[in-house]
Amino acid sequence: MLFVPVYIIFIPIFTALVIYLFKNRYINYLALLAQAAITVLLVLYHYTYKGNYGDTLFWFGDWQTIGISLVNDEISESFLFLSVFSWWMVLIYTFEKGKTDHNFLFFLMFLQGVFLGLLQSNDLFNMFVFMELTTIIVTILIAYKKAGDSFRAGIYYLLLNTSGVLMFLIGIILLYNTFGTINVEQIGSLIHLYGEETVIRFSYVLMMGGIAVKSALFPVFTWLPRAHGVAASAISALLSGLVVKGGLYLFIRINGMYAGAAIDYTEFFYWVGAITAVVGVMFALSQKDIKQVLAYHTISQIGIVMMGLSSLHDTAMFYGGFLHIFNHALFKSLLFLGAGIIIKAYKTKKVGEIRGVMRAMPVVSVFMIIGMLSITGAPFFFWFISKSIIKYGIMDSGIKYWILFVVNIGTATSFIKLSQIFFGQKRMTIRLKRLPQRITLMTLAFACVALGNFYIQIGEGFFGLPLQEVTVADWAALFDYALALSIGLAFYKLVIEPDYKPVRYIRNFQMSFETANYLFVVFLVVMTVYFVVL
């Protein structure tokens, strides 16, 4: 059981290679088999080590303290489950395609192995290698259609993320220069010795810079809408739902490592998250392309998660953000995959041209509506609960509370706009009878509803959290939701629908690669001034 982390990294990679080599449609079914094997191993692993995660640590080649080690805890374990679940969804959704397209399966399965490795690594350079490899595979998946715009988006993604990852590498070098080790745990236990030194602070800044690019925080988020807008819907779902969260996961891990240095990052990253959330919503409101809308909402939701994660480890607010990661992974995958079906049927991505989905595709519509209710924070969905937790954490600060409310209104407005596609006359569409895709949507919608209603059991079972204190049937919160919806409706009718000039301006705003890099440097300097100089 100790070596399960190795197996779950290498089973997908091995399968990917075999699929690539044989190019046989029956061999392609191995992907599902491998996925099942990983799932079983992971469940067994969970029950073996539940409660005493200290035992999961092991060193490759038994090189204690100088080699590479893997370790798991509650957080990484829950991420592992989420990843395997997401890959199940994408595999089933793309089953028709995957049966014949071995190249696609190759990259998809390889990415899974690498991503699972990233989650379990206990070594900074190892993390860097996995980040690099993830970046390259994701680039290929974005550019997979080989069209001009997907190609440009892929290169944009590759270059911007590589510069971020290189900053991460320089941070590692500084730490190695100081401590002579790159093991996360060892550095964590030594870091209080030099917590005040410039070198530690500066390495923190560089690492956070890399992570900010990876997780699309405020000034350096521009790669995300491009990449997620042009990739195939299943890939967008995977990227938005999961791979972006790799950056947030590293944020948790690296800040855990720097805990001894007593760096006060809460306030800074709260505001970075808040700005990200507001800017993301602002852009989403102006978009007319259904996938762009969803991509910009990913940015805003990441901002909200960041607002939660920024608070220190053991407070409720942290878990509010942390649990929202899972919630977001579910509903954003659901929305992207549903949007993919609709786009296929209507052959257009324009929100304005898609009408009458409710009549044409009632089943898909129901699932999409579940996703929309989840993202707008309706009661009996999980966002309602994690939002309550975050609100509880920032209750005493007026402006922080209002930012969350503004983001809520923006989200409501944007999904009121998106919900226009359900109404109207039925148009002739291409009939698509694809059972696997329906199954995926159903599973995700079911998971959304289950997470929202059985949150007490889930919270206790995985993290031992007392979530029963959060009440759903709270009239004030219900009123909040109704208020947000009605303001959103008014805002949509008055500002967004007439399509005023500022809205058009925001929609057509494109940031060049040069500007994005410029902003990255500015961001690094701002962080340096905040964390090192002050």
């Binding site: 070596f3 080599l21 690498v114 290698v129 595979i137 997979y144 220069n177 080790t181 030194e197 602070r201």
Partner: protein
């Protein structure tokens, strides 16, 4: 102009902080380095400490570093729009424009480079070098062939397949230590029972495999780019 000046100012700020941060604690933390110096040879059987780190202490990383090349190769093959089976005979190197002197010297240099590359690969555990570096040299030698014989045809499909098989073999051989020593990704010969000579056999095998894999990978990338540039 103002924009660029501001940028230079920002970069200078970053660089000066970087510079001063290195002044702080430059002499601390030689833990691992000292450990490798003291124990590298007898624990891994490699005189070359880089190889001992690359192929033993941190073999897990090296597997994925090789994986990066593998993914890059398959990605480039996929994204370059031409059919894989297509001949790449008459590309940008025009036979008539290549000076005869250059061709002659290439003929002379080619076997030397190839031999040098193999030397670097095989002696990776004794002297500076190893699979990654030697593989790059071998790939360069193979690319010189394109100057000697512009009509040369390369079956990329076969090379890519061989490269994948080599990567699979590397993975299998790297994890063999699970059966001999009960732990993943280290030398299959236990340093307590075998001498360094025996241990180096394993290093040679891995170096050769990695070297071939890297050479084939770089060869493929170059050929794909040649076809693109045509």
């Amino acid at each position: 102009m103002i924009r660029n000046g501001f940028l230079i100012l920002l970069l200078l700020t970053l660089f000066s902080v970087f510079y001063f941060s290195l002044q702080d604690l430059a002499e601390f933390g030689k833990n691992s380095a000292q450990y490798f110096l003291d124990h590298g040879l007898e624990e891994t059987g490699s005189n070359n400490l880089v190889t001992s780190i690359l192929l033993d202490y941190r073999l897990f990383d090296s597997l994925f570093e090789a994986g990066i090349l593998l993914i890059a190769v398959s990605g480039i093959i996929w994204i370059s729009k031409h059919e894989i089976e297509e001949k790449n005979a008459e590309f940008m190197i025009d036979k008539f424009k290549t000076p005869d002197l250059f061709v002659t010297f290439s003929r002379l240099v080619y076997p030397l480079m190839l031999a040098f590359g193999f030397y670097i690969i095989i002696n990776g555990h004794v002297s500076p070098g190893g699979g990654f570096q030697g593989g790059a040299i071998v790939a360069t030698a193979i690319l010189i062939l394109y100057y000697i014989d512009a009509e040369k045809e390369t079956n990329i499909k076969m090379i890519v397949t061989i490269e994948k098989y080599l990567y699979l073999t590397i993975l299998v051989i790297a994890s063999l230590s699970f059966f001999t020593r009960g732990t993943f990704f280290t030398n299959i010969f236990d340093p307590n029972t075998f001498d360094t000579g025996t241990q180096s056999i394993y290093l040679i095998v891995l170096n050769v495999l990695v070297g071939f894999k890297v050479a084939l990978g770089l060869w493929t990338i170059f050929t794909a780019f040649l076809k693109e540039g045509r």
